[in-house]
Amino acid sequence: MTLTVSDLTISRGGIPVLEGLNFSLEPGGALVLRGPNGVGKTTLLRTVAGLQPAVAGTVECDPESIAYAAHSDGLKGMLTVSENLHFWADIFGTKGIDAALKGFDLEGLVDRPASALSAGQKRRLGLARLLVTGRPIWILDEPTVSLDVASVEMFADAVRAHLAAGGSALIATHIDLGLEAEVFDVGPYRAKPENSTDAFSGSFDEGFL
């Protein structure tokens, strides 16, 4: 299940932010996205995940193979840890949440409502959700935010296991996860404003320059 991005241009609020992106993600491989804050890493991940249409270029992959995890974990405070995980398991049609619980050391918190978890625990539960989706391609936006060192290590192990099992991961992060992953710096791909053609397809703004 490879993910290939060819000549991709993405925009935020109608203005192109990155263009000419080319990379691919082989099964078992991981790619870490680097670049200054606000350069458009989140927009890129959302476009690859299919949440946002690209301005130009293509993202070739089977949409059913993508699991996306953003800053906010999508957890319901009222539900307990197991209810949250069971919910996502049912949605993605996978069985059993034990692997996810074990993978992120959440067995002890099974019956605690998500609202009573610490930020780190909530983050781990959000990441545990990835295991439950059973999707090969993980797209992660700053996954290690509010995680302590031990949890970061736990997350890295989970990713390694996922890669070993033939999965792949596209991660935007500043922290060195100790993974054998290529680094892809998006800095040089910033959309250059000068070369604005008078082309009238593409995003709204482009049509007016």
């Binding site: 949409p63 996306y68 906010s72 009222m78 539900l79 209810e83």
Partner: protein
């Protein structure tokens, strides 16, 4: 899909606010009417069907912005968008959950409130029938409005402005069924129209709501 419905119902139950809010509002509206219009039961019974329908409609309207707001804030909407569930399915389930937590209780409570407004005896059956058939349309149209305004800062007011004109056909036919029922007249034609509108909205509107939700998720 069922998992989403079960979760939403569980959330509504646990949050507690889900059921009570709409009902309490409906009761308050019904109780206030005689204060405004006067206690004279002859007048009350004449306007009872309309008032009960209006109260149910406004109670539905009240709880619309909560349909997507919670999932929008904690990021669940993004995750649902990348899940195997089609957005049309998500939207329909959300509308159904709204109806079960707000619409249905209104239908069950309406006869009780009808007593307060001295609704004629023949009116009860038709009132409940019209509400049961009409309120699903209110939930589906309301979900469309909620999807339109989900990302906006003060979307609540705008939501009402957008949704109320869309409620006009359902309100007219629904209140007409209740009114004719109360007078003992034959209410079949407006009932069929009401059912037609509800069936039409349930069948077609989720596609528009899903499209709008995807646009808002960009």
């Amino acid at each position: 899909m069922i998992a989403l419905l079960v979760r939403d119902m569980k959330l509504a139950m646990r949050a507690g606010g889900g059921f009570g809010l709409g009902l309490a509002f409906f009761l308050i509206v019904t109780v206030l009417v005689p204060f405004g219009v006067g206690p004279e039961s002859g007048l009350l019974s004449k306007i009872a069907p309309g008032i009960l329908w209006l109260g149910a409609l406004l109670a539905c309207l009240l709880s619309l912005d909560r349909i997507f707001a919670l999932d929008w804030e904690d990021g669940s909407l993004d995750l649902l968008a990348t899940s195997p569930l089609p957005m049309e399915g998500v939207v329909t389930i959300k509308a159904l959950a709204h109806w079960l937590t707000t619409g249905l209780p209104l239908c069950l409570a309406a006869p009780l409130f009808g007593l307060l407004l001295s609704l004629p005896d023949t009116g009860y059956v038709w009132l409940v029938l019209s509400l049961v058939i009409g309120t699903p349309a209110l939930s589906v149209v309301g979900t469309f409005g909620a999807a339109l305004t989900v990302g906006l800062k003060r979307g609540g007011l705008l939501l009402s402005l957008l949704v109320l004109p869309l409620y006009v056909p359902t309100l007219i036919f629904g209140a007409e069924v209740a009114r004719r029922g109360a007078l003992g007249m034959d209410a079949m034609t407006p009932l069929l129209m009401l059912g037609g509108i509800t069936a039409g909205t349930i069948a077609l509107l989720p596609f528009a709501s899903a499209l709008v939700l995807r646009v808002n998720l960009r």
